[in-house]
Symmetry: C2
Subunit: 141 residues, 2 copies
């Protein structure tokens, strides 16, 4: 791969912009979060606060793990827990201006990576699909 | 990307071999399948029959969608349904001997793709992570 062809591409060029990204709020009950995840079809989504700053991510795996009791999935627990009790925090983030090579590095271990500005406001997400499509295009040209 | 460097790489070189792949059986109750998925941490896994032929894939999204009633997730339904009633069928597959470019094409729309032999026996899976790692290695050399 000619790394120099890709150095002109930024994270901002390939990201899915925030208005198109399904998300939940830190204070939502887990029940609501699981509903959003099942209805949107996504396995995990970003978690924002009311001012649209990024707080973490949450997925079905984590939620189901929380309610797995010795005998059954204790669905009733979902009404009493909040997203912030269970969400994944401290994940790597990118900026819009970053080079796409940073995006490639980040998605090796994460299906998607959040993009934020200097103040922590949520700008969008970079997905493995977007990176793979771009790399394929690069190979065939 | 120099396509000619990658043409020597096969699906078999990068796949996760069947013995390392978590899977469920066509006849398992959905309850067992959901447990395997939550405990393994994987969002979806292959579905095999008793002779280890590939039958499809199944994921948390599909299972949770099946039991989502008007008011709540009807967990009791899981004991009465089987994997084969709900699994995804007809997904694209690859062979060990295929070129890795076929793998890249296939993972653009699928987090993983199953690898089978001519008789349909399950050989392993190709994941986005494996493809991305290989492409990154290619860029930096
Ligand atoms: N509604 C849909 N329409 C078409 N294809 C769909 C789809 N939902 C899922 N897929 C396909 O399945 C892949 C895995 O989705 P998953 O939800 O596990 O994992 C997703 C999800 O956790 C997150 N994601 C993607 N788009 C999102 C969005 N608009 N809002 C929130 N999260 C999103 O990023 C991860 C990676 O996404 P990526 O596109 O690389 O990969 C997606 C995509 O190829
Ligand atoms: N136990 C673990 N240890 C380390 N990292 C983990 C992990 N579980 C998940 N991940 C990370 O999360 C990504 C998405 O996993 P997911 O389970 O949604 O989606 C997975 C899962 O559906 C399937 N898969 C991967 N390995 C599997 C295995 N050994 N058995 C069964 N299915 C597997 O292929 C999809 C894509 O896998 P990929 O490796 O590209 O991408 C994985 C990997 O980067």
């Amino acid at each position: 791969i000619q790394a120099n062809q890709l150095t002109a591409v930024t994270v901002g060029d390939l990201m899915i912009s925030s208005e198109k990204v399904a998300h939940v709020q830190v204070n939502n009950p887990l029940e609501h979060a699981l509903l959003v995840l099942v209805k949107s079809g996504y396995s995990a989504v970003p978690v924002l606060d009311p001012s649209y700053r990024l707080q973490g991510t949450i997925g079905k795996t984590k939620i189901l793990n929380e309610i797995l009791g010795l005998e059954r999935f204790e669905m009733e627990k979902l009404a009493h827990m909040e997203v912030k009790d269970v969400m994944n925090e401290g994940l790597p983030c990118l900026k819009k201006e970053d080079n796409i090579m940073g995006g490639l590095n980040a998605v090796i271990d994460h299906p998607f990576v959040c993009v934020v500005d200097e103040e922590g406001y949520f700008d969008g997400i970079i997905t493995r699909r977007a990176i793979l499509k771009r790399l394929k295009k690069d190979i065939y040209t």
